[in-house]
């Protein structure tokens, strides 16, 4: 276990109590992230990736419970009281969400949205906070920052709103940024701008944890990728390795599903047949077996485990992994 990790997540489980049953959204997730590093968690809707992130911040819905361990900068966050969590949120970990229109309070001006974190915590005077808000808007390349401060979120374009949301997430100078599907609601050209800005955030020494369903989005940004399926990490590897030689059939299928600008165009896009299992219907064996061409009897019976002892090392939870690339692993 490396001592310098900024965020250490161990055996994280998240359950939701519903009127019928307990739904297990995250079924034991382990990973870590160092300062200046960008880690991507990639998975489909319902894979548990967002709930894992929310559990780290103590932001689960009221019927949700988290177990396991989340250590951030040496402090345990699971079971921590609200006072500790409130210090960590914003000042320790910034959060950028998918939909900037719903994450920015509609009746507050941009100035209030940017400065309230600093002012509520008594971290800056009003003039100081305003100066820092202007700086933050310049850092995300918002033109005419002075006049933007007086505007409301609905007056900005979608791309500009996402950049304001990024500025807001960074106002209290966190050590770590959580970005949950930060580009999904945006046009490709605006996506590219947001990815550039996130690369800048990482290069300033912050840790960045990015969550997405699109491997294409994180190809140029992430140092390491963890692929999540049905509540578990099924493969983790350095970005180049994972893209050049995915070992889990699910990772390979996700890669093949990304539409390409090169190669045969008429060829069918490789969709993954079927749907992920509902949490209550997850099989005892590999959760991907029903959609996997390589699955055999062992796969449906025994769940393959990821090596949990070395989360920073490439690992795959599969009985029938694809071959490793020559010279790697």
């Amino acid at each position: 276990m490396s001592a310098e990790a900024l965020l250490q997540v161990r055996d994280l489980e998240v359950d939701f109590a519903t009127s019928q049953a307990t739904v297990n959204a995250v079924a034991g997730v382990t990973f870590e992230l160092r300062a200046g590093e960008c880690v991507a968690i990639v998975g489909e809707s319902g894979s548990g990736k967002t709930q894992a992130l929310m559990a780290c911040l103590g932001l689960l819905a009221s019927n949700g419970t988290a177990r396991g361990s989340v250590r951030f900068a040496g402090r345990e966050l699971i079971g921590a009281d609200e006072r500790v969590l409130n210090t960590v949120r914003g000042t320790g970990i910034g959060l950028l969400t998918q939909d900037p229109l719903s994450s920015l309070t509609p009746h507050l001006r941009i100035e209030t949205l940017l400065t309230e974190g600093l002012l509520d915590r008594g971290l800056a005077s009003r003039t100081d906070a305003r100066q820092r808000a202007l700086q933050a808007l310049r850092a995300v390349e918002i033109p005419e920052p002075e006049s933007r401060l007086r505007q409301y979120p609905h007056e900005l374009s979608g791309g500009m709103r996402q950049r304001v949301a990024l500025a807001a997430a960074l106002m209290c100078e966190p050590l770590l940024l959580f970005a949950d599907e930060p580009t999904t609601a945006l046009d490709v050209s605006v996506q590219a701008r947001v990815l550039e800005l996130l690369a800048g955030v990482r290069d300033r020494g912050l840790g960045v944890l990015i969550i997405t369903h699109d491997l294409g989005v994180v190809a140029g940004l992430a140092d390491r990728v963890a692929v999540m399926y049905a509540g578990r990490i099924v493969e983790t590897a350095a970005t180049d390795e994972l893209f050049s030689a995915p070992r889990h059939p699910y990772t390979a299928a996700l890669l093949a599903a990304v539409p390409r600008l090169h190669g045969a165009a008429q060829a069918r896009l490789a969709g993954i047949p079927g749907d992920p299992p509902q949490p209550a219907e997850r099989p005892s064996g590999c959760a991907f077996a029903a959609r996997c061409a390589a699955a055999d009897e062992q796969c449906t019976r025994v769940r393959p485990e990821l090596r949990p002892d070395a989360p920073a090392v490439a690992a795959v939870a599969c009985h029938r992994p694809l071959p490793a690339a020559a010279g790697q692993r």
Binding site: S45, H213, A253, P259, L261, A265, R268, I272
Partner: protein, 283 residues
């Protein structure tokens, strides 16, 4: 080879929106959402219209569907000008062209099962159908989009985003339209589901000779589906051509910018792009 007949033609369409003035005596302003846009779709052809938010691509779809009136220009259906103010014309056109929108939950009635949603469209478009025959057609339409009979009784909240979009496609295609307009129909979906839906649209288009007007901000998605592509920027067509021309030899700088923004699954290429873009910005 016999020339393929043109199904839909839009000629010199302009759409101008009046904007509210900022004060009582402020001059009224207007916004040109579309300026002199012309497109053609052949029988069974698939045209991709690509551009950013605000480029006018959704407005173009709305003009074709008759949801927005063009200030000038005209729409021809099989060579005949469409009169969108004529109720009869409009009703006939509804049977011929259908639409699938971006938000799969938002476009379905939450109180209707998948089967009811498809049945409603069938009744509205094909007129009264005997109930046994209607049931068969509903199940056939659902099965064609990959949803088995058990899905007919499910409500939208019991379906995933991809399944909802399949229902929306079944609803749009149950009365066999000749043109399907897809307005960012795969943009809100996970990539794995997006691939399934793109393949499904391709199959339906091939099987039934159904033309597609496929609107998207992502050129890579369009490349897999459409033989012809029009690139829209600020309400104008800046480039139009075959798939080979647009991807092999793009002429407009705007097309090249859009191509460069596509998130491809290639780490070395993406890192180089991010680094290059950041260098340009810091200069």
């Amino acid at each position: 080879m016999t020339p393929v007949a043109t199904l839909l033609r839009v000629e010199h369409a302009c759409v101008r929106y009046a904007l509210r003035g900022t004060g009582l005596f402020a001059p009224s302003r207007s916004l040109d959402a579309l300026s002199d846009v012309s497109i053609d779709i052949a029988q069974g052809g698939r045209l991709g219209v690509v551009g950013e938010s605000g480029s006018g691509k959704s407005t173009l779809a709305r003009v074709v569907l008759g949801l927005v009136r063009a200030s000038s220009g005209r729409v021809l259906w099989e060579g005949r000008p469409v009169d969108y103010s004529d109720a009869g014309d409009l009703r006939a056109l509804r049977r011929e062209m259908q639409v699938v929108f971006q938000d799969p939950f938002g476009s379905l009635d939450p109180r209707m099962t998948a089967g009811q949603a498809v049945g409603e469209a069938l009744q509205a478009l094909a007129g009264p159908v005997p109930s046994v025959a209607a049931q068969d057609r509903i199940l056939a339409a659902l099965s064609e989009v990959g949803l088995g009979a058990t899905y007919a009784h499910r409500y939208p909240h019991e379906l995933s985003g991809g399944q909802c979009q399949r229902v929306a496609i079944a609803r749009a295609t149950v009365a066999r339209p000749r043109l399907l307009v897809c307005d960012e129909a795969v943009s809100a979906l996970d990539v794995s589901v997006q691939a399934q839906i793109v393949n499904l649209l391709h199959e339906l288009s091939e099987r039934h000779q159904m033309s597609l007007l496929f609107i998207s901000h992502n050129l890579a998605v369009v490349r897999h589906l459409c033989e012809d592509i029009a690139v829209l920027c600020a309400g104008r067509v800046v480039e139009r051509g075959s798939r080979a021309a647009i991807f092999g030899n793009p002429q407009a700088q705007y097309t090249r910018d859009l191509l460069a923004a596509v998130p491809e699954a290639d780490p070395a290429l993406q890192r180089a792009r991010i680094a290059a873009a950041r260098r340009i910005r810091t200069q």
